[in-house]
Amino acid sequence: MSFSEQMSQLLTGNNLRFLFDGLKLTLYISFVSIVLSTIFGTILAVLRNQKKGPLKFLASLYIEIVRNIPNLLWIYVIFLIFKIKSTPAGIVSFTVFTTAALAEIIRGGLNGVDKGQKEAARSQGFSNFQILIYIVLPQAIRNVLPAIVSQFVTVIKDTSFLYSVIALQELFGKSYILMGRYAQTSQVFAIYGLVALMYFVINFSISQFSRWLSRNWA
């Protein structure tokens, strides 16, 4: 088989659609996980930033344990708990891990808000809770938004583990299946190149967006 025959056999509309379905699942899982993790991460960051108390201890415990154990292990653990190979299980395992990562990022943002802001708000009669919601959090989130966006890149890359552990056919899974079907060397490398390019275009755009945010916005 000539090279062009090999390529025309591989690059059919069906195969490309197959890969794009995988990309859609990758982006769906990553996006939902990032949104959930930002919410939970904010809560954990606020709890850990308290002066003392059992909640501070529990939040620190969660963050340190989860952050210092590989993401892959959490995917295994969540699968063993749920016993199901499904998209929700994938979302849960990434939310568990990313929550801890984002909590530390957001905590950095909370600590970066100037003390004078709190004092000014208190002098105007704001309660502690109001200060947090209206004064501190909006500024903190705004400051760390670039870092949250670039965490998105990490999540998209790491979702490639999901195929090996729970057989979810995200982008990496789809490409692995295709590699098994088209065993010619040039075809395998064409699939690799194509998938690497798809990841690269998405992730590079996101990281450029993150850089743009940190220059122009935060």
């Binding site: 292990l73 490639s160 060397t185 690269f200 992730n203």
Partner: protein, 232 residues
């Protein structure tokens, strides 16, 4: 209490089985450390090389470094593993590597990109005036770097570098997917035979934790020291 101890996923006998096979996990732990040290050496060499390229005043060298960094930072580590593990032997049987070699090269290349960024931004964080002052005193580029810039950049680079080592240790677990007998793989394969999932993964988690937690703590301490040193 009695029931929990004798049946179910937390049962006592499962932990005893783990204790009996401790040697297996001990070997796996040493293998993970071997992979981490090996890939750290590769990553440091690549990171320092490409990081210095990006700090030079040469557009072409900067571009080469940029391409390397952006490629590895924006594509999953796992697809690098698969292409070397599965794709390279298709080109030629000569390109068949052991699992260990593949892991060290792939993790090294991947984290080399991150370390390169750490080096670049560390050098970039040293104020321009420092370079100018050194040049005005007749220092060459090399001497400026050696005596003026790098000693200052080093302090800035150390905390993110330590964080990168933590990420590198965690990412060595990717080798489990191509059946390298590290902590992750051993936990998974051992427990899939005897169904002692809870003890196996608890131990695996613990082993990663004792490697990563002290380093993560150190990184935070170094960062705080820097903050104190630079804000008076």
């Amino acid at each position: 209490m009695f029931i929990i101890a004798n049946s179910g996923p937390f049962a006592l006998y499962r932990w005893e089985a783990l204790l009996k096979d401790w040697r297996l996990f001990g070997d796996a732990f040493l293998y993970t450390i071997l992979l981490a040290v090996g890939s750290l050496i590769v990553a440091m060499l690549l990171g320092i090389f490409f990081g210095s390229l990006s700090a030079m005043h040469n557009k072409l060298l900067n571009l080469i470094s940029r391409i390397y960094v952006e490629f590895f930072q924006n594509t999953p580590l796992l697809i690098q593993f698969i292409v070397v593990y599965y794709g390279f032997p298709l080109i030629s049987p000569m390109l068949t590597f052991s699992t260990t070699t593949i892991a060290i090269i792939c993790v090294g290349l991947y984290h080399g990109a991150y370390i390169s960024e750490v080096v670049r931004s560390g050098i970039g964080a040293v104020p321009k005036g420092q370079f100018e002052a050194a040049y005005s005193q007749g220092f060459s580029y090399g001497k400026t770097m050696r005596y003026v810039v790098l000693p200052q950049a080093w302090r800035i680079m150390l905390p993110p570098l330590t964080n990168q080592i933590v990420n590198l240790i965690k990412n060595t677990s990717t080798v489990a997917i191509i059946s390298g007998a590290d902590v992750m793989f051993t936990a998974n394969s051992w427990s899939s035979i005897n169904l002692n999932y809870i003890p196996a993964f608890a131990l695996a988690g613990f082993l990663y934790f004792i490697l990563c937690f002290p380093l993560a703590k150190l990184a935070r301490k170094l960062e705080e020291n820097n903050k104190k040193a630079y804000t008076r």
